[in-house]
C-alpha cells in the first residue's frame, strides 16, 4: 500500500512537470500572437480609441490644424518597423506634443513593401476623407498580417474601416478605388523619394524654425521626435 502510494506521488510529480510544460508551451504560442490580417478578429480597437480620443483629425493629419509644427511620417502599412513605431514611439508623441496642440502629425504613404501596400494606403486616405484616417492607420498596424500574403483583402480593409468608425462605407469604397486617391498614394511615395528616404518609417518636420519640410535621421526614439518638434518651433 505504502509502495503504491509512493509510486503514485512520484507519478504526480511527473504530472506536475507535464502541466507546467503545457502552460509554458501555451504561453509561447500566445506570445507569438495571431498571424494578424484576420478580418474576423480585429483587435486593439479600444486601445486606439483611447489614444486618439478628443484629438482633431483632418484628412491624414492628427492634431490641431493651427499647430505650428508638423511632424510627417512616411509609412507603409505593411511595414513591421512602422507597426513597431506606431506601438512604441508614436503613443508618446501623440500623448505629448500632438495632444497639447504643439504639433500635428501627418501620415503620408511611402509604398515600398509590395503590391498590397497601395490598396492599404488608398484605404487609409479614403478613411481620412471621412475624418477617421488615423483610426484606420493605427488599427491597421495593430492587425497587420504577413507582408503581401494576400491579407489586404476587401473584407479585411472593410472590417478595419468599420472598426475605425468610418461613417459612410459605400463612399469610402468608391473613394479608395478612385483614380484621385491612387494618384495621391503615388504622389506621396514620390515625395518621400524626393526627400531622400529609402525606408519606412521615415520622419520629416516642418515649422517656423525649419526651411520647409526637413527630413530627420532614422530614429526609434520618441524623445528624438519630440526634440525635433521642439527645435522646429
Amino acid at each position: 500500500m505504502r509502495d503504491r502510494r509512493e509510486s503514485l506521488v512520484k507519478l504526480a510529480s511527473a504530472v506536475a512537470f507535464l502541466a507546467i510544460a503545457t502552460v509554458a508551451v501555451l504561453i509561447v504560442v500566445s506570445q507569438s500572437g495571431s498571424s494578424g490580417g484576420d478580418s474576423g478578429h480585429i483587435v486593439s480597437v479600444p486601445e486606439v480609441e483611447r489614444e486618439l480620443q478628443g484629438i482633431p483629425q483632418h484628412g491624414m493629419v492628427l492634431g490641431h490644424p493651427d499647430a505650428k509644427v508638423a511632424l510627417v511620417e512616411f509609412g507603409d502599412l505593411q511595414c513591421t518597423s512602422c507597426k513597431a513605431a506606431s506601438e512604441g514611439i508614436l503613443p508618446d508623441v501623440i500623448a505629448g506634443p500632438v495632444r497639447s496642440g504643439e504639433a500635428k502629425l501627418d501620415y503620408r504613404a511611402f509604398t515600398i513593401i509590395g503590391a498590397e501596400s497601395t490598396p492599404a494606403a488608398a484605404a487609409a486616405i479614403a478613411a481620412g476623407e471621412q475624418g477617421r484616417g488615423w483610426d484606420f492607420v493605427e488599427i491597421f498596424y495593430r492587425n497587420q498580417g504577413e507582408e503581401d500574403s494576400g491579407y489586404v483583402s476587401d473584407g479585411f480593409l472593410t472590417a478595419l474601416a468599420r472598426h475605425a468608425g468610418v461613417p459612410d462605407i459605400d463612399r469610402w469604397n468608391r473613394e479608395r478605388e478612385s483614380e484621385a486617391v491612387l494618384r495621391e498614394v503615388e504622389a506621396q511615395t514620390a515625395e518621400a523619394k524626393r526627400l531622400g528616404f529609402t525606408g519606412t518609417p521615415s520622419f520629416a518636420v516642418e515649422g517656423p524654425a525649419t526651411e520647409g519640410l526637413e527630413p530627420l535621421e532614422p530614429t526609434e526614439s520618441a524623445t528624438d521626435l519630440e526634440s525635433a518638434i521642439a527645435n522646429a518651433r
Binding site: 504530472v15 502552460v23 495571431s34 483587435v43 479600444p46 495593430r142
Partner: protein
C-alpha cells in the same frame, strides 16, 4: 487540524467546476456574437481584454478552452479513484498556471481588467488548491 474528507473536497470541486463552466460559457457566448462580456461594475475592461490579441489561442477564444477545462475538472470531481485525483491535479495546475499568465497580461500588457476573467482566475486558483489537497491526501488510498 483534521484533514478534510475527500467527499468534502470533491463537493467543493464540483461546485467550483460548475460555476466555472457558467463563467467561461458566458464569456464565449459574448465573444461569439462579435461582442464582449459586460463588466458588471461598468467600464470597458472586459471589451478591451476581449479585443486584445491575447484573447484567442490558435484562432479560438480562450474561453472555449476554459469550458473544456472546467468540464474535465468537473468530471474529475465527480469520479472516484486515483485516475481522477491525478488528472484533476494536473488539469487544475495547467488552468492555474495559465490563469496567472492571463492575469499578468491584464495588469501589465493589456492594461485593463475584465471582471469575468478575474472570476475565472479565482475559481481556477481554488480548484487547484482543492485538487492538490485531494491528490496529496488521498492518492494511493482506497476510493
Amino acid at each position: 487540524m483534521k484533514a478534510p474528507a475527500e467527499g468534502t473536497l470533491r463537493g467543493i470541486a464540483t461546485f467550483l467546476g460548475t460555476f466555472g463552466i457558467g463563467v467561461a460559457t458566458y464569456i464565449a457566448i459574448a465573444d461569439s456574437g462579435g461582442g464582449a462580456p459586460v463588466c458588471v461594475a461598468g467600464g470597458h475592461g472586459c471589451q478591451t481584454v476581449a479585443e486584445s490579441p491575447y484573447s484567442h489561442l490558435f484562432g479560438v477564444n480562450i474561453a472555449a478552452f476554459g469550458i473544456v477545462g472546467y468540464v474535465l475538472l468537473l468530471a474529475c470531481a465527480l469520479l472516484r479513484g486515483d485516475g481522477p485525483r491525478m488528472a484533476g491535479f494536473g488539469l487544475a495546475l495547467v488552468g492555474f498556471g495559465y490563469s496567472l499568465y492571463l492575469t499578468y497580461l491584464e495588469l501589465f500588457k493589456i492594461d485593463a481588467i475584465c471582471q469575468w476573467c478575474v472570476a475565472s482566475a479565482v475559481l481556477m486558483t481554488l480548484l487547484f488548491a482543492v485538487n492538490a489537497t485531494r491528490m496529496l491526501l488521498y492518492v494511493g488510498r482506497e476510493p
